[in-house]
């Protein structure tokens, strides 16, 4: 605070009898009563936002208890009576659940394998472009898919892969029969990961490019003097320079491992591709909202969330131990 020089001795008198306390008492020394008296208008502004967080963010967290309680549609959102682990047992012995669980792991793994490194490579390549206009143009174009609705991305994906679309057109010129990509389970993962890379690669480069621009030029100079060629400079200076960014994004990616592109899968899959496309979140959507088994689906959702939590915490721990970067 710029006025803190004025703070001689804070008034020690009875707070209730104080005149409005001087503005410059550090908040640590102000009592709640003083703070409320002085800042009640500020606190009043916070009321609606806090109400928002309590109702739409925290109440649903508590609402997860219906995973252990019988829930009646139209009844209390916290369920009617305790049933213990009944719903957990139910999905653990449900073969359909294990199938979607396997699919989720597959899809999460493939997404991580492809969507994580592509932005890094792209950023490194962009970083080598000396002409700013060209660099900016490539960047602007590569961000574009990020700004489109996922519905549009799904629509475009399907049109491109349609039996009369460009991909089949190319296949036809090689004398290949058209493939009905969208109906074939063995193609789903490729399509999903491919469209994901297409949509996210460019946008993902932003943070890496920012990290690259902060690397000290002297480091390159020193490496050159030591006789490092371009590749060695990349390996020994550039990559270590963006390592904290890489680790942070890797942890975040691992944290969303279980929640694989739920919305996009919803848009791209169909009963024919369920064998490979159906993941935990789409399965719980169908059981919960389409079949009204709210408690059962809530139990699955809780299970999914716990795995996600375990993943992100262990990734964070590992990162802190090995490279010294962590989210918290």
């Amino acid at each position: 605070m710029s006025t803190s020089a004025m703070t001689g001795s804070p008034p020690r008198t009875e707070p209730a009898q104080d005149p409005p306390p001087p503005r410059d008492i550090p908040s640590g020394r102000r009592t709640w009563r003083q703070a409320l008296r002085r800042d009640w208008q500020v606190y009043s502004l916070a009321l609606l936002p806090i109400l928002f967080f309590l109702v739409f963010r925290y109440l649903p967290m508590i609402g997860n208890v219906i995973a252990f309680r019988r829930f009646q549609p139209g009844g209390s959102i916290l369920g009617e009576d305790w049933v213990g682990l009944r719903y957990v047992d139910m999905f653990l012995s449900d073969p359909a659940f294990w199938q979607v669980f396997r699919n989720t792991l597959w899809m999460g793994f493939l997404t991580l394998l492809f969507c994580f490194p592509v932005p890094i490579v792209l950023a490194l390549l962009l970083n080598e472009v000396r002409r700013t206009a060209l660099k900016r143009f490539v960047q602007s174009v590569s961000y574009l898919p990020h700004f489109l609705s996922i519905v549009i991305v799904a629509g475009i994906t399907m049109q491109i892969l349609a039996s009369d679309g460009p991909v089949n057109h190319v296949l036809a010129t090689f004398g290949h029969d058209p493939i009905r990509f969208i109906q074939e389970p063995e193609w789903f993962r490729t399509i999903y990961v491919g469209s994901e890379v297409w949509q996210t690669a460019g946008w993902g480069t932003i943070l890496y490019l920012a990290a690259l621009s902060t690397i000290d030029d002297d480091l390159y100079e020193a490496a050159r003097i030591d006789g490092a060629n371009r590749w060695q400079q990349t390996w020994h200076v550039t990559l270590p320079g963006i390592r904290p960014t890489m680790m942070t994004l890797l942890i975040l990616n691992i944290g969303t491992f279980m929640a694989v592109g739920f919305e996009k899968i919803m848009l791209l899959y169909n009963p024919l591709t369920y064998p490979t496309a159906d993941v935990v979140s789409t399965y719980l959507y169908r059981t919960g909202i389409e079949s009204n088994s709210f408690s059962y689906a809530a139990a699955i959702g809780l299970f999914e969330a716990v795995i996600g939590l375990v993943l992100i915490t262990s990734a964070n721990q590992m990162s802190r131990k090995t490279v010294g970067t962590s989210l918290w």
Binding site: F56, P60, N64, V141, F147, V151, I160, I206, I289
Partner: protein, 290 residues
Amino acid sequence: MNRPTRGYRVFQGVNGVILTLVVVVTLYPFVNIVARSFSGERQIRAGEVTLWPKGFNLTTYRIVFGDGAFWRSYGNTVLYTVVSTIVAMTLTTIYAYVLSKKDLRGRGALIGIAVFTMFFSGGLIPNYVLITSLGMKNSIWAIALPNAISVFNLLVMKAFFENMPAELEEAAQIDGLSTYGILWRIVLPLSKAVIATMLLFYTVSFWNSWFSAFLYMDRTELMPATVYLRNLIAGATTGSNAGAGTDQLSQAAANIQSVTIVLTALPILAVYPFVQRYFVSGVMLGAVKG
């Protein structure tokens, strides 16, 4: 400057080719969709449309423009986007302002309440149960209220407010302005840059969203354009109309899909060249401060 080596020049060439490929691969799907939307059905079915429209015609545009359901969904999108953005901007701005008060008692807790929700959320089912029991189904509030504060946007705005010179507010306070007056007459007029950026973030995200409407809007006359488009796509994927006799019809449907995709993306594509740098700087700010 030291001279680039021969190997590096080769690399530059290869790099140029790779980046050109990236541009082509990114843009080609758009070009193809636009070309399809202007093409004749026969030419599309023969797989002839690649870069340019073949058998140029505006029939499909005429069909879509003449379709009341499409316009209604488009109108819904506009309405939902405007209302949701107003609600979101209001709540985000006032909370960001509160959080930017560095000497506010309990500020840490107020920030914590928000940031915690970035890492933990209730999940689909409890949210659905909540919205349904609040009786918000088939109402615009099911879309506007549950998404009213994006914590990411909140942190960006908070960072902006924190960087404002404190003397301005102090002077205004001495002149007798209340907190509300300071926010309204001093802070907001000076924050046009961040307000414009946040407006943009929210508008684009509400324009693009489909899932909350899909979940909570049962009646077709309440669908936004994204859900309208989704239903077109879903009709095409389930193969329900892929029978031989309805080939003509499904072909027309594919054509209508292209037109709908183009029209739904159009507002975004139109403003994109002007706004993308704001997004980029917003993301950087959020990443640094968040």
